[in-house]
Amino acid sequence: MNDYLVLMKSEWLITITIFLLLILKVRGEMRSDRLLSIAQVMLLIATIVGFLFNRYGRLFGSMYYTNPLIGFQKALLTLATYLISLLCADWFKKTQHLAEFFILMLTALLGMFLMISSGNLLMFYLSLELSTIPVAALANFDLEKRISSEAAMKMILSSAFSSGVLLFGISLFYGATGTISFSAMSNHLSGEPLQTLSFIFLFTAFAFKLSVVPFHLWTADVYEGSPIAVTSFLSVVSKSAFAFVFLIAIYKVFYPLEKTWYWLLVITSIATMVIGNLFAIRQQNMKRFLAYSSIAQVGFVLVGASAGMSSGTSSVVYFMLIYTFSNLAAFGVVSIISERSGKENMTDYKGLSRSNPFLSWVMALALFSLAGIPPTAGFFGKLFLLTAGASRENYWFIVIATLNMIISLYYYLRVVRSMFMEKNDNPIQSVAIERSVYFGLILCGVGIVVTGLFSWLYQYIVSLI
Protein backbone atom coordinates (compact mmCIF):
# COMPACT_ATOMS: atom_id res chain seq x y z
CA MET A 1 0.00 0.00 0.00
CA ASN A 2 2.80 2.37 0.95
CA ASP A 3 4.41 1.66 -2.44
CA TYR A 4 1.38 2.94 -4.28
CA LEU A 5 1.69 6.25 -2.45
CA VAL A 6 5.44 6.79 -2.58
CA LEU A 7 6.31 5.46 -6.02
CA MET A 8 3.45 7.28 -7.73
CA LYS A 9 3.75 10.48 -5.69
CA SER A 10 4.04 12.81 -8.71
CA GLU A 11 1.04 11.22 -10.36
CA TRP A 12 -1.02 11.47 -7.17
CA LEU A 13 -0.17 15.13 -6.64
CA ILE A 14 -1.11 16.05 -10.19
CA THR A 15 -4.34 14.04 -9.95
CA ILE A 16 -5.24 15.79 -6.69
CA THR A 17 -4.61 19.16 -8.33
CA ILE A 18 -6.81 18.25 -11.29
CA PHE A 19 -9.70 17.24 -9.03
CA LEU A 20 -9.22 20.25 -6.77
CA LEU A 21 -9.46 22.61 -9.73
CA LEU A 22 -12.45 20.70 -11.07
CA ILE A 23 -14.33 20.94 -7.77
CA LEU A 24 -13.50 24.62 -7.34
CA LYS A 25 -14.67 25.30 -10.88
CA VAL A 26 -17.93 23.42 -10.43
CA ARG A 27 -18.66 25.23 -7.17
CA GLY A 28 -18.06 28.51 -8.99
CA GLU A 29 -17.50 31.92 -7.34
CA MET A 30 -13.73 31.61 -7.56
CA ARG A 31 -11.80 34.46 -9.12
CA SER A 32 -9.38 33.33 -11.78
CA ASP A 33 -6.29 34.85 -10.14
CA ARG A 34 -7.14 32.89 -6.98
CA LEU A 35 -7.42 29.69 -9.04
CA LEU A 36 -4.12 30.48 -10.73
CA SER A 37 -2.31 30.86 -7.43
CA ILE A 38 -3.77 27.56 -6.17
CA ALA A 39 -2.52 25.83 -9.31
CA GLN A 40 0.91 27.46 -8.93
CA VAL A 41 1.25 26.40 -5.31
CA MET A 42 0.22 22.83 -6.08
CA LEU A 43 2.69 22.65 -8.97
CA LEU A 44 5.46 24.03 -6.77
CA ILE A 45 4.73 21.37 -4.14
CA ALA A 46 4.70 18.69 -6.83
CA THR A 47 8.06 19.93 -8.14
CA ILE A 48 9.73 19.88 -4.75
CA VAL A 49 8.28 16.50 -3.79
CA GLY A 50 9.25 15.19 -7.23
CA PHE A 51 12.95 15.77 -6.54
CA LEU A 52 12.79 13.87 -3.22
CA PHE A 53 12.19 10.24 -2.22
CA ASN A 54 12.91 8.71 -5.61
CA ARG A 55 13.65 4.99 -5.60
CA TYR A 56 13.27 1.84 -7.68
CA GLY A 57 9.96 0.07 -7.83
CA ARG A 58 7.44 -1.77 -9.96
CA LEU A 59 3.67 -1.70 -9.67
CA PHE A 60 0.67 -3.31 -11.38
CA GLY A 61 2.48 -6.41 -12.56
CA SER A 62 5.41 -4.46 -14.07
CA MET A 63 3.08 -2.25 -16.11
CA TYR A 64 4.39 0.72 -14.15
CA TYR A 65 8.00 1.04 -13.09
CA THR A 66 10.07 3.86 -11.72
CA ASN A 67 13.64 4.63 -10.67
CA PRO A 68 15.53 7.71 -9.44
CA LEU A 69 16.24 8.93 -12.96
CA ILE A 70 12.57 8.69 -13.95
CA GLY A 71 11.65 10.54 -10.77
CA PHE A 72 14.11 13.30 -11.70
CA GLN A 73 12.66 13.50 -15.21
CA LYS A 74 9.13 13.82 -13.84
CA ALA A 75 10.23 16.55 -11.45
CA LEU A 76 11.84 18.36 -14.38
CA LEU A 77 8.58 18.21 -16.36
CA THR A 78 6.64 19.51 -13.34
CA LEU A 79 9.16 22.31 -12.91
CA ALA A 80 8.66 23.32 -16.55
CA THR A 81 4.88 23.35 -16.11
CA TYR A 82 5.27 25.45 -12.95
CA LEU A 83 7.43 27.95 -14.86
CA ILE A 84 4.80 28.12 -17.63
CA SER A 85 2.12 28.85 -15.04
CA LEU A 86 4.27 31.74 -13.77
CA LEU A 87 5.39 33.15 -17.11
CA CYS A 88 2.05 33.21 -18.89
CA ALA A 89 0.15 34.69 -15.90
CA ASP A 90 -0.93 37.68 -18.00
CA TRP A 91 -2.69 35.52 -20.51
CA PHE A 92 -4.12 33.18 -17.86
CA LYS A 93 -5.77 36.05 -16.00
CA LYS A 94 -7.49 37.24 -19.16
CA THR A 95 -8.93 33.90 -20.17
CA GLN A 96 -12.35 32.97 -18.82
CA HIS A 97 -11.70 29.26 -18.68
CA LEU A 98 -8.60 29.11 -16.55
CA ALA A 99 -9.65 26.02 -14.59
CA GLU A 100 -10.36 24.09 -17.79
CA PHE A 101 -7.02 25.12 -19.22
CA PHE A 102 -5.14 23.82 -16.19
CA ILE A 103 -7.20 20.64 -16.02
CA LEU A 104 -6.34 19.83 -19.63
CA MET A 105 -2.69 20.81 -19.25
CA LEU A 106 -2.23 18.77 -16.07
CA THR A 107 -4.00 15.80 -17.64
CA ALA A 108 -1.49 15.90 -20.45
CA LEU A 109 1.29 16.13 -17.86
CA LEU A 110 -0.12 13.11 -16.05
CA GLY A 111 -0.14 11.22 -19.35
CA MET A 112 3.54 12.07 -19.83
CA PHE A 113 4.39 10.80 -16.32
CA LEU A 114 2.68 7.50 -17.00
CA MET A 115 4.30 7.31 -20.41
CA ILE A 116 7.81 7.68 -18.97
CA SER A 117 6.99 5.07 -16.33
CA SER A 118 5.28 2.56 -18.61
CA GLY A 119 6.67 -0.95 -18.76
CA ASN A 120 4.27 -2.29 -21.30
CA LEU A 121 3.24 -1.27 -24.82
CA LEU A 122 -0.46 -1.08 -23.91
CA MET A 123 0.28 1.27 -21.02
CA PHE A 124 2.62 3.24 -23.26
CA TYR A 125 -0.02 3.69 -25.96
CA LEU A 126 -2.76 4.70 -23.52
CA SER A 127 -0.62 7.27 -21.76
CA LEU A 128 0.71 8.60 -25.05
CA GLU A 129 -2.85 9.33 -26.12
CA LEU A 130 -3.58 10.82 -22.70
CA SER A 131 -0.69 13.19 -23.25
CA THR A 132 -1.58 14.26 -26.81
CA ILE A 133 -5.38 14.50 -27.06
CA PRO A 134 -5.72 17.20 -24.34
CA VAL A 135 -2.95 19.23 -26.00
CA ALA A 136 -4.90 19.28 -29.25
CA ALA A 137 -7.88 20.66 -27.35
CA LEU A 138 -5.57 23.22 -25.72
CA ALA A 139 -4.27 24.38 -29.10
CA ASN A 140 -7.82 25.48 -29.89
CA PHE A 141 -8.13 27.49 -26.69
CA ASP A 142 -8.41 30.88 -28.41
CA LEU A 143 -11.83 29.91 -29.71
CA GLU A 144 -12.40 33.12 -31.66
CA LYS A 145 -9.10 33.12 -33.52
CA ARG A 146 -9.07 31.55 -36.95
CA ILE A 147 -5.44 30.46 -36.74
CA SER A 148 -6.03 28.75 -33.40
CA SER A 149 -8.61 26.38 -34.86
CA GLU A 150 -6.40 25.75 -37.87
CA ALA A 151 -3.50 24.89 -35.56
CA ALA A 152 -5.66 22.53 -33.52
CA MET A 153 -6.88 20.82 -36.69
CA LYS A 154 -3.32 20.25 -37.86
CA MET A 155 -2.30 19.00 -34.42
CA ILE A 156 -5.11 16.49 -33.96
CA LEU A 157 -4.83 15.11 -37.50
CA SER A 158 -1.08 14.67 -37.38
CA SER A 159 -1.20 13.12 -33.93
CA ALA A 160 -4.03 10.77 -34.96
CA PHE A 161 -2.05 9.71 -38.02
CA SER A 162 1.14 9.21 -36.03
CA SER A 163 -0.67 7.14 -33.43
CA GLY A 164 -2.12 5.04 -36.25
CA VAL A 165 1.39 4.40 -37.54
CA LEU A 166 2.60 3.66 -34.00
CA LEU A 167 -0.20 1.15 -33.49
CA PHE A 168 0.56 -0.60 -36.76
CA GLY A 169 4.16 -0.93 -35.64
CA ILE A 170 3.06 -2.24 -32.24
CA SER A 171 0.75 -4.81 -33.84
CA LEU A 172 3.58 -6.09 -36.03
CA PHE A 173 5.81 -6.31 -32.97
CA TYR A 174 3.16 -8.28 -31.19
CA GLY A 175 3.02 -10.63 -34.15
CA ALA A 176 6.79 -10.99 -34.25
CA THR A 177 7.44 -11.45 -30.52
CA GLY A 178 4.12 -12.53 -28.99
CA THR A 179 4.38 -10.17 -26.05
CA ILE A 180 3.72 -6.53 -25.31
CA SER A 181 5.78 -6.13 -22.15
CA PHE A 182 9.06 -4.24 -22.57
CA SER A 183 11.25 -6.61 -20.56
CA ALA A 184 10.01 -9.77 -22.28
CA MET A 185 10.18 -8.08 -25.66
CA SER A 186 13.85 -7.15 -25.51
CA ASN A 187 14.66 -10.85 -24.97
CA HIS A 188 12.79 -11.82 -28.13
CA LEU A 189 14.40 -9.24 -30.41
CA SER A 190 16.79 -10.75 -32.91
CA GLY A 191 16.77 -8.25 -35.78
CA GLU A 192 14.75 -10.28 -38.24
CA PRO A 193 13.15 -8.23 -41.07
CA LEU A 194 9.64 -8.04 -39.58
CA GLN A 195 11.05 -6.65 -36.32
CA THR A 196 13.15 -4.09 -38.18
CA LEU A 197 10.13 -3.01 -40.22
CA SER A 198 7.97 -2.58 -37.14
CA PHE A 199 10.75 -0.69 -35.39
CA ILE A 200 10.80 1.74 -38.32
CA PHE A 201 7.06 2.27 -37.86
CA LEU A 202 7.59 3.01 -34.17
CA PHE A 203 10.49 5.31 -34.95
CA THR A 204 8.23 7.23 -37.34
CA ALA A 205 5.70 7.80 -34.58
CA PHE A 206 8.42 9.07 -32.25
CA ALA A 207 9.74 11.29 -35.02
CA PHE A 208 6.28 12.83 -35.40
CA LYS A 209 6.05 13.60 -31.70
CA LEU A 210 9.61 14.93 -31.45
CA SER A 211 9.21 16.80 -34.78
CA VAL A 212 12.23 15.17 -36.36
CA VAL A 213 12.65 16.30 -39.92
CA PRO A 214 10.63 14.41 -42.46
CA PHE A 215 7.75 14.61 -39.98
CA HIS A 216 8.20 18.16 -38.67
CA LEU A 217 5.69 19.92 -40.90
CA TRP A 218 2.96 20.31 -38.28
CA THR A 219 5.31 21.88 -35.71
CA ALA A 220 5.69 25.44 -36.91
CA ASP A 221 2.01 25.83 -37.81
CA VAL A 222 0.79 24.51 -34.48
CA TYR A 223 3.29 26.63 -32.55
CA GLU A 224 2.29 29.80 -34.36
CA GLY A 225 -1.46 29.30 -34.12
CA SER A 226 -1.81 28.14 -30.51
CA PRO A 227 -1.82 30.41 -27.45
CA ILE A 228 1.76 30.99 -26.21
CA ALA A 229 1.20 29.01 -23.01
CA VAL A 230 0.34 25.97 -25.15
CA THR A 231 3.27 26.62 -27.47
CA SER A 232 5.70 26.64 -24.57
CA PHE A 233 4.07 23.51 -23.11
CA LEU A 234 4.44 21.72 -26.45
CA SER A 235 7.96 22.84 -27.15
CA VAL A 236 9.37 22.21 -23.68
CA VAL A 237 7.32 19.76 -21.61
CA SER A 238 5.95 17.57 -24.37
CA LYS A 239 9.24 17.49 -26.23
CA SER A 240 11.30 16.60 -23.15
CA ALA A 241 8.83 13.86 -22.20
CA PHE A 242 9.01 12.28 -25.63
CA ALA A 243 12.80 12.59 -25.66
CA PHE A 244 12.99 10.74 -22.32
CA VAL A 245 10.66 7.98 -23.52
CA PHE A 246 12.61 7.71 -26.74
CA LEU A 247 15.81 7.16 -24.75
CA ILE A 248 14.16 4.44 -22.68
CA ALA A 249 12.80 2.84 -25.86
CA ILE A 250 16.07 2.69 -27.76
CA TYR A 251 18.33 1.79 -24.83
CA LYS A 252 16.17 -0.52 -22.75
CA VAL A 253 13.78 -2.11 -25.23
CA PHE A 254 15.29 -1.95 -28.70
CA TYR A 255 18.94 -2.24 -27.80
CA PRO A 256 19.32 -5.45 -29.88
CA LEU A 257 18.42 -3.42 -32.97
CA GLU A 258 21.27 -0.99 -32.26
CA LYS A 259 22.66 -0.96 -35.83
CA THR A 260 19.27 0.01 -37.25
CA TRP A 261 18.54 2.83 -34.84
CA TYR A 262 22.05 4.23 -34.88
CA TRP A 263 21.94 4.88 -38.62
CA LEU A 264 18.34 6.10 -38.48
CA LEU A 265 19.43 8.56 -35.79
CA VAL A 266 22.45 9.77 -37.75
CA ILE A 267 20.46 10.41 -40.93
CA THR A 268 17.43 12.01 -39.27
CA SER A 269 19.51 14.13 -36.94
CA ILE A 270 21.56 15.59 -39.80
CA ALA A 271 18.37 16.31 -41.75
CA THR A 272 16.72 17.84 -38.66
CA MET A 273 19.63 20.14 -37.86
CA VAL A 274 20.12 21.34 -41.43
CA ILE A 275 16.46 21.89 -42.31
CA GLY A 276 15.56 23.35 -38.91
CA ASN A 277 18.41 25.84 -39.23
CA LEU A 278 17.73 26.80 -42.83
CA PHE A 279 14.06 27.41 -42.18
CA ALA A 280 14.73 29.30 -38.94
CA ILE A 281 16.85 31.80 -40.89
CA ARG A 282 13.94 32.98 -43.01
CA GLN A 283 11.28 33.35 -40.28
CA GLN A 284 9.82 36.71 -39.31
CA ASN A 285 7.27 35.68 -36.67
CA MET A 286 8.92 35.09 -33.29
CA LYS A 287 6.83 32.03 -32.41
CA ARG A 288 7.57 30.43 -35.77
CA PHE A 289 11.22 31.29 -35.37
CA LEU A 290 11.33 29.60 -31.97
CA ALA A 291 9.49 26.61 -33.46
CA TYR A 292 12.18 26.05 -36.09
CA SER A 293 14.89 26.69 -33.53
CA SER A 294 13.37 23.97 -31.35
CA ILE A 295 13.35 21.60 -34.34
CA ALA A 296 17.07 22.28 -34.80
CA GLN A 297 17.67 21.67 -31.07
CA VAL A 298 16.01 18.25 -31.39
CA GLY A 299 18.59 17.44 -34.04
CA PHE A 300 21.34 18.04 -31.44
CA VAL A 301 19.46 15.92 -28.91
CA LEU A 302 19.52 13.06 -31.39
CA VAL A 303 23.30 13.44 -31.70
CA GLY A 304 23.54 12.80 -27.96
CA ALA A 305 21.00 9.98 -28.10
CA SER A 306 23.04 8.17 -30.74
CA ALA A 307 25.75 7.51 -28.12
CA GLY A 308 25.56 4.52 -25.83
CA MET A 309 23.27 4.18 -22.87
CA SER A 310 25.01 6.00 -20.00
CA SER A 311 26.57 8.99 -21.75
CA GLY A 312 23.56 9.35 -24.07
CA THR A 313 21.03 9.43 -21.24
CA SER A 314 23.00 11.77 -19.00
CA SER A 315 23.82 14.27 -21.74
CA VAL A 316 20.24 14.36 -23.07
CA VAL A 317 18.65 14.78 -19.62
CA TYR A 318 21.16 17.52 -18.77
CA PHE A 319 20.53 19.26 -22.08
CA MET A 320 16.77 19.06 -21.58
CA LEU A 321 17.15 20.72 -18.16
CA ILE A 322 19.03 23.62 -19.76
CA TYR A 323 16.72 23.73 -22.75
CA THR A 324 13.73 24.03 -20.38
CA PHE A 325 15.13 27.16 -18.76
CA SER A 326 16.38 28.79 -21.97
CA ASN A 327 13.36 28.11 -24.12
CA LEU A 328 10.88 29.07 -21.41
CA ALA A 329 12.71 32.36 -20.83
CA ALA A 330 12.48 33.15 -24.56
CA PHE A 331 8.81 32.16 -24.71
CA GLY A 332 8.10 34.13 -21.53
CA VAL A 333 9.43 37.33 -23.09
CA VAL A 334 7.54 36.71 -26.34
CA SER A 335 4.40 36.04 -24.30
CA ILE A 336 4.55 39.29 -22.32
CA ILE A 337 5.26 41.40 -25.38
CA SER A 338 2.55 39.81 -27.47
CA GLU A 339 0.03 40.07 -24.61
CA ARG A 340 0.75 43.73 -23.87
CA SER A 341 1.40 45.12 -27.34
CA GLY A 342 0.02 42.48 -29.73
CA LYS A 343 3.29 42.39 -31.64
CA GLU A 344 4.96 39.10 -32.55
CA ASN A 345 7.16 40.01 -35.50
CA MET A 346 10.92 40.17 -35.38
CA THR A 347 10.98 43.66 -36.89
CA ASP A 348 8.90 44.91 -33.96
CA TYR A 349 11.67 43.85 -31.62
CA LYS A 350 14.05 46.47 -33.01
CA GLY A 351 15.23 48.82 -30.31
CA LEU A 352 13.59 46.79 -27.55
CA SER A 353 16.54 47.32 -25.23
CA ARG A 354 15.79 51.03 -24.89
CA SER A 355 12.18 50.67 -23.80
CA ASN A 356 12.41 47.30 -22.00
CA PRO A 357 15.98 46.67 -20.86
CA PHE A 358 15.11 43.82 -18.45
CA LEU A 359 13.12 41.84 -21.03
CA SER A 360 15.80 42.30 -23.68
CA TRP A 361 18.56 41.10 -21.35
CA VAL A 362 16.56 37.99 -20.41
CA MET A 363 15.84 37.33 -24.08
CA ALA A 364 19.51 37.82 -24.99
CA LEU A 365 20.59 35.43 -22.24
CA ALA A 366 18.08 32.83 -23.40
CA LEU A 367 19.15 33.13 -27.04
CA PHE A 368 22.85 32.93 -26.09
CA SER A 369 22.07 29.77 -24.19
CA LEU A 370 20.08 28.28 -27.09
CA ALA A 371 22.93 29.12 -29.45
CA GLY A 372 25.49 27.63 -27.06
CA ILE A 373 27.77 30.55 -26.24
CA PRO A 374 30.20 29.72 -23.39
CA PRO A 375 29.26 31.55 -20.19
CA THR A 376 25.69 30.27 -20.42
CA ALA A 377 24.61 26.71 -19.69
CA GLY A 378 23.63 26.02 -23.30
CA PHE A 379 27.31 25.71 -24.21
CA PHE A 380 27.89 22.92 -21.70
CA GLY A 381 24.69 21.19 -22.77
CA LYS A 382 25.77 21.13 -26.41
CA LEU A 383 29.33 20.20 -25.45
CA PHE A 384 28.17 17.11 -23.56
CA LEU A 385 25.79 16.13 -26.36
CA LEU A 386 28.53 16.33 -28.98
CA THR A 387 31.11 14.57 -26.78
CA ALA A 388 28.63 11.77 -26.15
CA GLY A 389 27.96 11.51 -29.88
CA ALA A 390 31.69 11.50 -30.62
CA SER A 391 32.19 8.40 -28.47
CA ARG A 392 31.07 6.36 -31.52
CA GLU A 393 34.10 7.72 -33.41
CA ASN A 394 31.92 8.79 -36.29
CA TYR A 395 33.66 12.15 -36.57
CA TRP A 396 32.18 13.54 -39.79
CA PHE A 397 28.79 13.37 -38.09
CA ILE A 398 30.07 15.51 -35.21
CA VAL A 399 31.68 17.93 -37.68
CA ILE A 400 28.32 18.43 -39.41
CA ALA A 401 26.64 19.01 -36.03
CA THR A 402 29.29 21.61 -35.10
CA LEU A 403 28.88 23.39 -38.42
CA ASN A 404 25.15 23.56 -37.72
CA MET A 405 25.86 25.16 -34.35
CA ILE A 406 27.71 27.90 -36.21
CA ILE A 407 24.81 28.41 -38.64
CA SER A 408 22.41 28.67 -35.70
CA LEU A 409 24.53 31.49 -34.22
CA TYR A 410 23.52 33.64 -37.19
CA TYR A 411 19.79 33.63 -36.58
CA TYR A 412 19.92 33.74 -32.78
CA LEU A 413 22.28 36.70 -32.82
CA ARG A 414 20.20 38.45 -35.48
CA VAL A 415 17.42 38.83 -32.90
CA VAL A 416 19.89 40.07 -30.29
CA ARG A 417 21.30 42.57 -32.77
CA SER A 418 17.90 43.95 -33.67
CA MET A 419 17.02 44.30 -29.99
CA PHE A 420 20.21 46.08 -28.99
CA MET A 421 21.69 47.80 -32.03
CA GLU A 422 18.94 48.79 -34.43
CA LYS A 423 16.77 51.86 -34.25
CA ASN A 424 13.02 51.78 -34.53
CA ASP A 425 10.69 54.70 -35.32
CA ASN A 426 7.74 52.95 -33.71
CA PRO A 427 9.19 50.95 -30.82
CA ILE A 428 7.28 48.73 -28.38
CA GLN A 429 6.26 50.79 -25.38
CA SER A 430 7.70 49.98 -21.99
CA VAL A 431 5.52 47.16 -20.63
CA ALA A 432 4.65 46.60 -16.98
CA ILE A 433 5.77 43.20 -15.72
CA GLU A 434 3.70 41.42 -13.13
CA ARG A 435 5.31 40.04 -10.01
CA SER A 436 4.85 36.34 -10.83
CA VAL A 437 6.12 36.83 -14.39
CA TYR A 438 9.11 38.73 -13.04
CA PHE A 439 9.82 35.92 -10.61
CA GLY A 440 9.51 33.32 -13.38
CA LEU A 441 11.91 35.20 -15.65
CA ILE A 442 14.45 35.60 -12.82
CA LEU A 443 14.15 31.87 -12.07
CA CYS A 444 14.82 31.02 -15.72
CA GLY A 445 17.75 33.42 -15.90
CA VAL A 446 19.32 32.00 -12.74
CA GLY A 447 18.70 28.50 -14.10
CA ILE A 448 20.49 29.34 -17.36
CA VAL A 449 23.58 30.54 -15.50
CA VAL A 450 23.64 28.14 -12.56
CA THR A 451 23.02 24.85 -14.41
CA GLY A 452 26.11 25.53 -16.49
CA LEU A 453 28.47 26.72 -13.77
CA PHE A 454 27.83 24.06 -11.12
CA SER A 455 29.17 20.73 -12.26
CA TRP A 456 27.59 18.74 -9.42
CA LEU A 457 24.31 18.92 -11.29
CA TYR A 458 25.69 16.92 -14.20
CA GLN A 459 27.38 14.52 -11.81
CA TYR A 460 24.09 14.15 -9.95
CA ILE A 461 22.34 13.16 -13.20
CA VAL A 462 25.15 10.71 -14.00
CA SER A 463 24.82 9.20 -10.52
CA LEU A 464 21.12 8.53 -11.11
CA ILE A 465 21.65 6.29 -14.13
Binding site: S149, S163, G164, Y174
Partner: protein, 103 residues
Protein backbone atom coordinates in the same frame (compact mmCIF):
# COMPACT_ATOMS: atom_id res chain seq x y z
CA UNK B 1 -10.71 -22.96 -48.37
CA UNK B 2 -10.19 -21.69 -44.84
CA UNK B 3 -8.85 -18.16 -44.47
CA UNK B 4 -5.39 -18.28 -42.91
CA UNK B 5 -3.15 -15.68 -41.27
CA UNK B 6 -1.80 -14.55 -44.64
CA UNK B 7 -5.26 -13.66 -45.94
CA UNK B 8 -6.09 -11.63 -42.86
CA UNK B 9 -2.75 -9.83 -42.95
CA UNK B 10 -3.31 -9.03 -46.61
CA UNK B 11 -6.69 -7.48 -45.80
CA UNK B 12 -5.38 -5.52 -42.83
CA UNK B 13 -2.33 -4.19 -44.66
CA UNK B 14 -4.47 -3.10 -47.62
CA UNK B 15 -6.84 -1.36 -45.20
CA UNK B 16 -3.88 0.43 -43.63
CA UNK B 17 -2.60 1.73 -46.94
CA UNK B 18 -6.08 2.65 -48.19
CA UNK B 19 -6.37 4.69 -44.99
CA UNK B 20 -3.00 6.36 -45.57
CA UNK B 21 -3.96 7.13 -49.18
CA UNK B 22 -7.28 8.61 -48.07
CA UNK B 23 -5.57 10.66 -45.36
CA UNK B 24 -3.25 12.29 -47.88
CA UNK B 25 -5.61 12.79 -50.83
CA UNK B 26 -9.00 13.71 -49.33
CA UNK B 27 -9.84 17.37 -48.84
CA UNK B 28 -12.85 17.03 -46.55
CA UNK B 29 -11.89 16.93 -42.86
CA UNK B 30 -14.55 14.39 -41.93
CA UNK B 31 -13.35 12.04 -44.66
CA UNK B 32 -9.78 12.44 -43.41
CA UNK B 33 -10.99 11.44 -39.96
CA UNK B 34 -12.68 8.40 -41.50
CA UNK B 35 -9.37 7.43 -43.13
CA UNK B 36 -7.71 7.55 -39.71
CA UNK B 37 -10.41 5.22 -38.40
CA UNK B 38 -9.63 2.88 -41.29
CA UNK B 39 -5.98 2.80 -40.20
CA UNK B 40 -6.97 2.05 -36.61
CA UNK B 41 -9.31 -0.73 -37.71
CA UNK B 42 -6.57 -2.34 -39.78
CA UNK B 43 -4.51 -2.40 -36.59
CA UNK B 44 -7.37 -4.09 -34.72
CA UNK B 45 -7.61 -6.75 -37.40
CA UNK B 46 -3.85 -7.30 -37.15
CA UNK B 47 -4.00 -7.78 -33.38
CA UNK B 48 -6.88 -10.21 -33.52
CA UNK B 49 -5.31 -12.21 -36.35
CA UNK B 50 -1.94 -12.50 -34.60
CA UNK B 51 -3.65 -13.41 -31.35
CA UNK B 52 -5.75 -16.16 -32.91
CA UNK B 53 -3.19 -17.76 -35.20
CA UNK B 54 0.21 -17.20 -33.58
CA UNK B 55 -0.22 -16.65 -29.83
CA UNK B 56 -3.59 -18.16 -28.89
CA UNK B 57 -2.70 -18.97 -25.27
CA UNK B 58 -2.71 -15.33 -24.04
CA UNK B 59 -5.17 -12.55 -24.72
CA UNK B 60 -2.79 -9.56 -25.07
CA UNK B 61 -3.92 -8.81 -28.62
CA UNK B 62 -7.62 -8.95 -27.85
CA UNK B 63 -7.19 -6.60 -24.90
CA UNK B 64 -5.23 -4.18 -27.01
CA UNK B 65 -8.04 -4.09 -29.56
CA UNK B 66 -10.61 -3.10 -26.93
CA UNK B 67 -8.41 -0.23 -25.78
CA UNK B 68 -7.72 0.93 -29.34
CA UNK B 69 -11.46 1.11 -30.07
CA UNK B 70 -12.08 3.16 -26.92
CA UNK B 71 -9.21 5.57 -27.59
CA UNK B 72 -10.29 5.97 -31.22
CA UNK B 73 -13.70 7.10 -29.99
CA UNK B 74 -12.11 9.64 -27.63
CA UNK B 75 -9.84 10.93 -30.37
CA UNK B 76 -12.77 11.24 -32.79
CA UNK B 77 -14.75 13.21 -30.18
CA UNK B 78 -12.00 15.81 -29.78
CA UNK B 79 -11.35 15.91 -33.52
CA UNK B 80 -15.04 16.48 -34.31
CA UNK B 81 -15.19 19.29 -31.74
CA UNK B 82 -12.18 20.93 -33.36
CA UNK B 83 -13.69 20.48 -36.84
CA UNK B 84 -16.97 22.10 -35.71
CA UNK B 85 -15.04 25.05 -34.35
CA UNK B 86 -13.09 25.28 -37.59
CA UNK B 87 -16.37 25.30 -39.50
CA UNK B 88 -17.61 28.19 -37.36
CA UNK B 89 -14.61 30.34 -38.14
CA UNK B 90 -13.98 29.31 -41.77
CA UNK B 91 -17.53 28.40 -42.95
CA UNK B 92 -16.08 25.27 -44.50
CA UNK B 93 -14.51 21.95 -43.57
CA UNK B 94 -12.27 21.87 -46.61
CA UNK B 95 -8.60 21.64 -45.58
CA UNK B 96 -7.62 23.88 -48.48
CA UNK B 97 -9.61 26.72 -46.90
CA UNK B 98 -7.50 26.60 -43.73
CA UNK B 99 -4.33 28.04 -45.19
CA UNK B 100 -3.29 30.98 -43.07
CA UNK B 101 -0.32 29.25 -41.44
CA UNK B 102 2.32 28.54 -44.03
CA UNK B 103 6.05 27.98 -44.43
Amino acid sequence: MHPGLNHLLFVSTSLFFIGVYGFFTRRNLVTILMSVELILNSVNLNFIAFNKYLWPHRLDGAFFTVFVIAIAAAEAAVAIAIIINLYRSHQSIDVEKAEELKY
